[in-house]
Amino acid sequence: MQQQAQPSPSPKPKKKIRVPRVVNGVEQMVEIEVDEDSGPGWGPNDKHRLLNQRITRVDGPLKAAGAARYTHDQRLPGMLYARILRCPHGHARVTKLDTDAASKIPGVKAFIQAPLTELRFAGAPVVAVAATTPEIAGDALRAIKVTYEVLPHVVHAAYAIKPEAPKVVAEENNLQEKGKNGDPTKVEAAFATADEIVEAEYTSPRIHHACLETHGMVVDYRGGDSATIYASTQGTFTIPGDAAKELGLKESNVVSSVEHMGGGFGSKFGIGTEGMLACRLSKQTKAPVKMMLTRYDEFVMAGNRSAAWQKLKAGVKRDGTIVALQARQYRLGGIGQGSQAGQPFIYTMGDTYREIYALHTNEDSAIAMRAPGYPQASFAAESLVDELAHKIKMDPLEFRKKNLRDQVYHRQLDRGAREIGWSRRNPVAGGNPGPLKRGIGCAVGIWGGGGNNQCKVDVTISRDGSVVVAVGTQDLGTGTRTYMRAIVAEEFGLGIKDVKEQIGNSKLGGANPSGGSTTAPSLSPSVKDAAIKTRLLMAQRVAPLLGNAKPEEVAFADAKVSANGKSMTWREACASLPAAGITGHGEWRSDLQARGVHGVCFAEVEVDVETGFVKPIKMVHVQDGGLPLNRLTFESQINGGMIQSLGMALYEERVMDAQLGMQLNPGFGDYKLPGTLEMPEMVPIIDDDDKREAVIGVAEGCNIPAVGALANAVFNACGVRVRDLPITPDKILMGLMNTSTSRA
């Protein structure tokens, strides 16, 4: 029987736009087609009832009570525990693998050799084992005998760049050119017009994501044709495809579950080598396998932020105009490509020329970390700008304004300056009396934070009055659950508690991976769209009961549905719905989001010039982000950005041993994270002068300028310019010694 074709509705006018799509945590711009006119907007930012307010997060009580369930908390009947044996050499081949003794240990169930033939870094996975307890899995690792052919390695960039250095990849140069930009002849000419020139090298070391929940997953496969993967991931939908491949199952038969996850910061996309090994162990044993990396594994094989080496030369006129920049930038990504934003970063610097290279070492690949490539570029650019200002004896804040075109920065710099008390700043570096010297510095940051069209959201209202908003997305601790509820509750005139959310499952509607601050701007428009559509469906149902009102006249407020002077309670209105309830499907709307955030950070520090110790005193960060979905969690993101930057500026560094080729500080005992004692007073400020009625992601933007601000504050405090992160006491003392020597 053939149905008569419905006349298709006239196609809506479309337009093409460019949006970010995240692959392995890194944004790539793609072109998509969207509706030109797509419906009602958010309305003014200061007119919301729940959005842009301070809503405590809905999963807070679970987390505070220890009841939130993470991947690491999964325990299934008959589950095996997996561990990975790692290569102890910087570069080697496995010539013999002997698991005989290990396999005789009671409780040891399976081994899977890692697929790599050549191990290019210390920590590279060699073989994985599954056993009945984590302790026995550890015994098995110690009983495995591996014979290696040890190859020459290089782990320090300064050596890797030399022609005689061992090759990370045979027959390939460790140094790979990645691009040139600008006209070097013009730049030379421009230097000739400069009054002052600063030439300096800035280096920042490899640092670690240090997610408290390590990478890993629990593969629930017991034979048969389906599996569930519990994964600590930033992308629910980055899991099933690869897991299915490893398990030899249909992708549609593999479900991923991400109820709660303990931090990612850019490092958790896809199943990873550990996930691949876990799937293979599970496939072999037909038993659930839990593979959570140990903390040591996490340091040596779960990724890191690209180190950076930047040689910059800039010329400035006495009036404060930067006229030329020449940059040679090395991305130090280990065996990977690394990342580093191109100079002159945010600033306008007249004629510029840059060369970017990847310089390889025998270290695990750098991967995306909260604002990939930006904090490194920002630190160098902001230090350079400060040095130029100092050279021409200009206030660094005024100097920045002079070389920043975007007026938003001017506004934010003024705001931050008031908040930190810039007027207290001694213009003479190291000029304050006494051994404890205070200084203030500032810096600016930029990010995209736009969304894309990957989120499919359902809002369902049942006859009993319950409201559920569902999509497969993940909440990294950013407050996703909470703003999903708030958007829907606001649309229906309900409270936060009247809406429930379902997320973190690949059976639900599709969603983008959380990278590049794209989650909120991708998800919230789809949630809003679903809420608007469901509201219209509901209005159509209840309008006849409200004196035959038109659906668009039906108002939803204060848990009541009303029109024509008639009113029903929410429950009464829902009782009129069909037995199955109603469901509206939401798609992404480009007009409900935007791209482009600005932030500025000010830092005050106290330097003890007798010990070189730096004490952070106060940090202020002003950040715009269009419509703040939740002020409380927005501020927490700002704090988080400042604190992670504090770690990069003053404490964190992977230390590699040149001879052994291995990391010397692969644990929290030796890798210094910022802790409670290092916390300054922190002032997170949402820039409400940003009137854009659009959602923009802010996580990365908050994590960029603080490193430069702290470095500049240290210089202002004691007169020592530390160009090599982290800014540790030894470097300050060395700098003070050099300063006093040169004075003498």
Binding site: T56, R57, G60, P61, L62, K63, A64, A65, G66, A67, R69, Y70, H72, D73, R75, R86, P88, P106, G107, T133, P134, E135, I136, G138, L141, R142, H209, C211, L212, E213, T214, H260, M261, G262, G263, F265, M292, T294, R295, Y296, L476, G477, T478, T633, E635, S636, N639, G640, I643, P666, G667, F668, G669, L673, P674, G675, T676, L677, M679, M682
Partner: protein
């Protein structure tokens, strides 16, 4: 790499596993337990011993190797598991596994389960629940002192214990009290706020 692996087994081997087991068994088993064990005596499996752990007011019996940490015993061996305390650094630096042993905070990754027998073990679950949080848990939610939440059980436990000891702390005392707890998302300022706020409601801790 072996030197980075936990070597608790080696340590116990050093003192002789059987000897350690016997010595420890003396003080960890209740008399009734010991008798029951003698009567049933299952075939010894990989040197496991039976331990009774008093977790959140409940006696919980668990069969473990003597080298098993309290943390792993709670998370991997107790049935049902107690998963509030988290395994993060496994070396006593980050505080995510903090529990109270007779009211005093301890890193449960550094305590052997057999040494915790006979002590009152309180985990974050024992301090309050989702519906009936204690003052610290409630303040953590109110002040947004958590993001990913993986460090939260440790902080809540440490601070709950500290506020009993010092009901009216200064900001610096709060910092000092939880300097053994790490957070990566960056919740510290709000953890401090929450702790100070909870102190004003200390009757509910």
């Amino acid at each position: 790499m072996a030197k980075h692996d936990s070597s608790r087994r080696k340590f116990l081997k050093g003192v002789g596993i059987a000897g350690a087991g016997a010595a420890i068994a003396d003080h960890i088993w209740t008399e009734g337990e010991a008798k029951e064990e003698q009567q049933s005596t299952p075939a010894a499996t990989s040197g496991e011993v039976k331990v009774v752990l008093n977790v959140n007011g409940q006696p919980r019996t668990v069969q473990i190797e003597p080298r098993t940490t309290l943390l792993n015993a709670m998370r991997d061996r107790l049935e049902p598991a107690v998963t509030g305390p988290k395994l993060v650094c496994d070396m006593g630096t980050c505080g995510a596994c903090t529990v109270l042993l007779d009211g005093k905070p301890a890193y449960s990754c550094l305590v052997l389960a057999i040494d915790a027998a006979g002590k009152k073990i309180t985990t974050v679950e024992g301090l309050g629940t989702t519906d009936k949080p204690n003052a610290v848990q409630a303040a953590f939610v109110e002040h947004d002192a958590l993001m990913c939440g993986f460090c939260t059980p440790g902080f809540v436990t440490t601070i709950s214990a500290y506020l009993k000891k010092n009901p009216n702390p200064s900001l610096d005392e709060v910092r000092e009290a939880c300097k053994g707890n790490f957070c990566r998302c960056g919740t510290y300022p709000r953890v401090f706020e929450a702790a100070l706020a909870a102190a004003t409601r200390r009757s509910q801790i």
